[in-house]
């Protein structure tokens, strides 16, 4: 008879956002990578991220974000306009003004949607000035990239026990500092990156 039990794999503080029983700490931090997927309907994980936003709303937990998030959103939108016009050569055309009208329209739409999202959930926006030095210590202490370090420092500063992200770079942090809520396809790589 085959064994039915056995040891469950260690979560290492990394959980799937698709999991129906996922527990949401209050507050919970949102990373730009998650918000991009939730706002843009053509993104591959849009439905999953949107469903989690509804779950956050229904559970009544508040969210926290770094003030870097809307800046990254604007950067993404500008890049979308360039990529739509220039394809894979979009980086070479950053200073070409012909994509700017589309970029401005898209930016207004995206930021309006982000602000609408915030109407529905209690929110702690964390200014960069409150986290700059903590971010530096996360970079030097754990090897985080600068933008990840700012989001992580903001999450910790606001008292969030978890961050929702599609960026595996946050897994360089120990689980004791920040739990990671990500999509199923990133569970294994996040768990492998966690410091032992």
């Amino acid at each position: 008879m085959a064994p039915t039990g056995g040891r469950r794999p260690a979560t290492r503080g990394v959980f799937a956002i698709e999991e129906p029983e996922l527990l949401l700490p209050d507050p919970i931090a949102l990373d730009t990578s998650f918000v991009v997927e939730a706002l843009i309907a053509t993104q591959p994980l849009h439905a999953v991220c949107r469903a989690l936003l509804h779950k956050i709303d229904e559970s009544g937990v508040s969210i926290t974000t770094s003030d870097l998030l809307p800046v990254e959103l604007a950067e993404a939108v500008f890049a979308i306009a360039l990529k739509e016009r220039w394809g894979s050569r979009w980086r070479q055309h950053r200073t070409d003004g012909r994509a700017r009208r589309r970029a401005a329209r898209l930016l207004n739409d995206t930021i309006a949607r982000y602000e609408t999202l915030l109407l529905s959930i209690d929110h702690f926006p964390v200014p960069l000035g409150d986290t700059a030095s903590s971010a530096r210590s996360l970079m030097t202490g754990y090897g985080l990239a600068s933008y990840d370090a700012i989001h992580a420092a903001s999450a910790v500063a606001a008292g969030a026990a978890a961050i929702v992200t599609l960026d595996t770079g946050f897994a360089l942090l120990p689980a004791s500092l920040l739990t990671i809520h990500t999509d199923r396809s990133r569970l294994a790589s996040c768990r492998a990156k966690r410091p032992r």
Partner: protein, 88 residues
């Protein structure tokens, strides 16, 4: 003694004198969190209370409608990848 205890930072927009002129309270607050033995520091409950933005939508229906408006129908012709907002 930690810097936060040594420096009285009162008011978000207050200015303080310094050797290079005036230093905004935001910058002083940032400096105040440097000496934390490499661990990020939590903001004080008072600072968190300052930052809190309560949801403007109050009823479950209003909240659901706001979420629907925010997340429905934004279509673009390309796939957004992390390098497009400065990530690796």
């Amino acid at each position: 003694m930690r810097a936060r205890q040594a420096i009285d930072v009162d008011g978000q927009r207050s200015k303080m004198s310094g050797h290079a002129g005036t230093i905004s309270a935001d910058i002083m607050r940032s400096v105040a969190t440097t000496q934390t033995n490499g661990h990020p520091e939590r903001l004080s409950p008072e600072r968190l209370a300052e930052l809190k933005r309560p949801a403007a939508a109050k009823t479950p229906e209003e909240k659901r409608a706001a979420l629907e408006r925010a997340t429905e129908g934004l279509l673009v012709k390309v796939r957004v990848t992390p390098d497009m907002y400065g990530r690796r």
